[in-house]
């Protein structure tokens, strides 16, 4: 979707669906049972150095649910404790216990994942069913989110199932105050795991959870001895069901998170145009937008996901997951408030309907 585009980039006119779509074609390829369709799920784990990412992943790999996991450690040249714990004896991908695969990333994440996918197809590595990426402590999750956005990158083979942020109860609050990256990691996450509550002062974990809730309303889990229920890490996040606006809270340092819920179905051209305007004018501040869109043109909900100026390919699901059939979007922005965004959508919809 380029700036000022007036064409529907993903609509049937530019796809083979126009020739071979048949009467039941979706605007967005085959309707899927789940947002990831057939793609391999990727769980990206962020969190500061020492927050307990490695322990958390290790604990998951030891459980039956963690079987068939390829772990990619995204080091960015750092040398740290993470490195020592998960590092394999050679540069090649190797099997860890529990049939898992571990490889240290020295170069580009994309190249590594592409090679993993190819090796898997030709049987050179075990037939893993998911990938967990452990990011380096200071990593900005933005580029990782973008990696899975387009066909040209990895969006055809992999689906970012969940972005999990690990925050430790001992240092978490201090990091929030001092490090903008720490706030951003939490704000962008689909789930947040609080670790080391047993090592922190009484009440520290509680205070931290409250603080997290000013940045992100995603589910927060408390890890016991570095472990958490596997489904908390691995499952697809549930779409938001209520209106909220965290932009008005204190201590957000300019990070805003809010939801938009539309009672009536939208049309694809109006939704696409509203997002095109946002991306062209405020792309860098549009840290993450995701949710379900109810479209007049589609029978199932359309899963959308935007990261700054990049749009993931929309996916139409076969059916709604529950009775709530409203469009629901969560925005995480830098300094872009709920009100003007809501107004933009309303105006575009009015234009599209021939009014305004």
């Amino acid at each position: 979707m380029s700036a000022g585009s007036t064409r529907s980039k993903w609509s049937s006119e530019t796809r083979p669906e126009a020739l071979f779509g048949g009467r039941d074609a979706s605007l967005f390829g085959r309707r899927q049972k789940r947002p990831r369709g057939a793609r391999l799920p990727v769980v990206a784990v962020t969190g500061f150095l020492g927050s307990g990412k490695t322990t958390l992943i290790r604990a998951l790999l030891d459980k039956p649910e963690g079987g068939g996991t390829a772990v990619v450690v995204n080091e960015y040249g750092e040398i740290g404790i993470d490195h020592a714990l998960l590092r394999s004896s050679s540069d090649a991908t190797v099997l860890l216990g529990n049939g898992c695969l571990c490889c240290n990333v020295r170069s580009d994440l994309q190249e590594t994942l592409r090679a993993l996918f190819a090796d898997r197809a030709r049987g050179a590595v075990p037939s893993f069913v998911r990938v967990i990426i452990e990011t380096s402590g200071l990593a900005d999750p933005g580029p990782i989110l973008q990696t899975f956005a387009t066909d040209r990158a990895l969006g055809r083979e992999f689906h970012l199932q969940a972005l999990v942020c690990v925050v430790d109860a001992v240092a978490g609050e201090t990091n929030f105050e001092r490090m903008p990256e720490a706030r951003k990691q939490v704000a962008l996450a689909d789930r947040i795991v609080v670790t080391k509550s047993d090592l922190a002062d009484a009440g520290a974990a509680e205070r931290l959870v409250k603080r997290i809730a000013t940045l992100n309303l995603a589910p927060v889990g408390i890890a016991g001895h570095g472990e958490i229920e596997p489904s908390f890490l691995l499952d697809e996040p549930v779409a938001v069901r209520r209106n909220f606006d965290l932009g008005e809270a204190d201590h957000t340092h300019g990070l805003e998170s809010f939801s938009l819920i539309f009672d009536e179905p939208l049309t694809w051209p109006s939704f696409e145009q509203a997002m095109a305007v946002l991306m062209s004018l405020r792309g860098p501040d549009l840290l993450r937008v995701k949710g379900f869109v109810a479209l007049a043109e589609c029978r199932g909900p359309v899963v959308v996901h935007f990261v700054q100026h990049v749009a993931h390919p929309p996916v139409e699901l076969e059916d709604w997951p529950d009775d709530d059939r409203r469009s629901r979007l969560v925005f995480v922005t830098r300094g872009l408030a709920r009100k003007p965004v809501a107004q933009l959508f309303a105006s575009v919809a009015a234009f599209a309907a021939g009014g305004a």
């Binding site: 899927q32 057939a38 030709r122 037939s127």
Partner: protein
């Protein structure tokens, strides 16, 4: 972790069929009068004829009935059910033997299949029926020889026959077609043989007819490629088109499945040789917007030959799920499910038919007593509950799966 490779399928159960787990190309669902869901399976070779499995609970399949073949020099391989009637193909190992033809059974009590009639197709130049299609309860479309058919070459002994079974106790042939030149007395010259090591015959394998186009038959014609017939006058079928891609490809066009609403044909080859000797055997996507000129536009991607050719026995395409026009069969005009012998069961999304994308696979670990030491996934069926049934050719029996893609 076992040696099973599985992606976007979930295995529900595995039943080795009590030591007789070699299944051919006949898989059909019957809903019995008491509500049980019975899967009828044709065996790949003697001594067993067919096996019935209660798959009401796909997590716990139960053996219900099994029949022996009357002779060891024959095989059933193919069967279909419509309601409480089952048609079973009989093919002999050599021309001139008996019984060769098909048998109709009353399966209203699945434990006790009762023969209704036997339709004889034997003859000095006939091995009988290799495969049959029986979907509407009225006609059987099949690949068969007959007593009065003398082929120009012994390998072309089977041809397309339409049998009216509206009265199941008195089946009557109502039409037939063969590739011109394959019958002695034809005006056309016989077709040019494929090289000796790849000469598998100019004869039909699958003969599919669907209610969307009751006037068309879609034939995989082995060394003759894909054939579309106009059967609006069943007594006089006429060829609409033929797509012959051999050589350079090895022959054995096996199955043609139309995706009617999308103007596509899915065409499978059969791999018949081991260790990649007839590689590549493929599943083709064919543009059928102009049915008189089918145009291949892509093939379903496969793992490289080197990854599978040394695992034992065959690696390459074989059967497709055929969108059977029956109430207890799943329908999809986006997903292709194909079996690849030791390459297992593979699923493809054809939403972009120029670039079919693999969306799942199931390659079970080799069955314990596999003669080749390899799995040989042979056929696949999907019921309307979207339960997938797939079978091993030699000993592995039945696997039940769910699709997660």
């Amino acid at each position: 972790m076992t040696d099973t490779a599985i992606w976007n399928f979930k295995q529900l159960a595995h039943h080795e069929l009590d030591g007789f787990g070699g299944i051919g190309e006949g898989m059909s669902i019957q809903i019995a009068k008491d509500g049980r869901r019975i899967l009828w399976l044709a065996h790949e070779s003697a001594p067993k004829n067919f096996t019935a499995v209660d798959v009401s609970d796909p997590r716990a399949p139960k053996l219900v009935a099994r029949a022996d073949l009357p002779q060891s020099h024959m095989r059933s391989n193919s069967l279909e059910t419509v309601g409480d009637i089952m048609a079973v193909a009989y093919q002999t190992t050599k021309q001139g033997l008996q019984p060769a033809g098909f048998e109709l059974f009353d399966i209203s009590v699945p434990e006790n299949p009762r023969s209704i009639t036997f339709f004889d197709c034997s003859g000095p130049n006939s091995r009988g029926v290799h495969q049959l299609w029986f979907a509407d309860g009225e006609h059987i479309h099949m690949s068969s020889g007959s007593a009065d058919f003398v082929p120009t070459h012994p390998k072309d002994d089977q041809f397309y026959r339409i049998i009216d079974v509206k009265n199941p106790s008195k089946p009557v042939e109502v039409g037939r077609w063969w590739l011109p030149g394959t019958k002695q007395g034809d005006n056309e010259p016989p077709p040019v043989r494929h090289p000796e090591n790849a000469d598998t015959g100019f004869r039909p394998h699958n003969t599919n007819v669907y209610p969307e186009r009751p006037d068309r038959a879609y034939l995989g014609y082995i060394d003759g490629g894909l054939v579309i017939l106009d059967i609006s006058d069943m007594a006089h079928p006429k060829m609409v088109s033929r797509w012959d891609y051999h050589p350079p490809y090895f022959g054995f066009t096996h199955t043609v499945v139309p995706f009617f609403d999308r103007n596509l044909l899915i065409v499978s080859d059969e791999c018949t040789r081991t260790e990649g000797a007839d590689w590549p055997k493929l599943v083709w996507i064919v543009d059928a917007r102009a049915e008189t000129n089918p145009v291949p536009i892509s093939t379903c991607p496969l793992p490289p030959l080197e990854s599978f050719m040394r695992r034992g026995a065959r690696y390459g395409a074989h059967n497709l799920y055929e969108n059977l026009p029956k109430p207890n069969a799943w329908k999809s005009d986006r997903i292709v499910l194909a079996t690849y012998f030791n390459g297992g069961l593979r699923a493809y999304d054809t939403s972009n038919p120029y670039q079919p994308a693999e969306v799942g696979y199931f390659v079970p670990e080799p069955p314990a007593r596999a003669p080749s030491g390899a799995i040989q996934i042979n056929d696949v069926f999907v019921d309307e509950r979207q339960i997938v049934y797939t079978v091993d050719r030699h000993v592995g029996g039945l696997y039940t799966l769910e699709m997660e893609f």
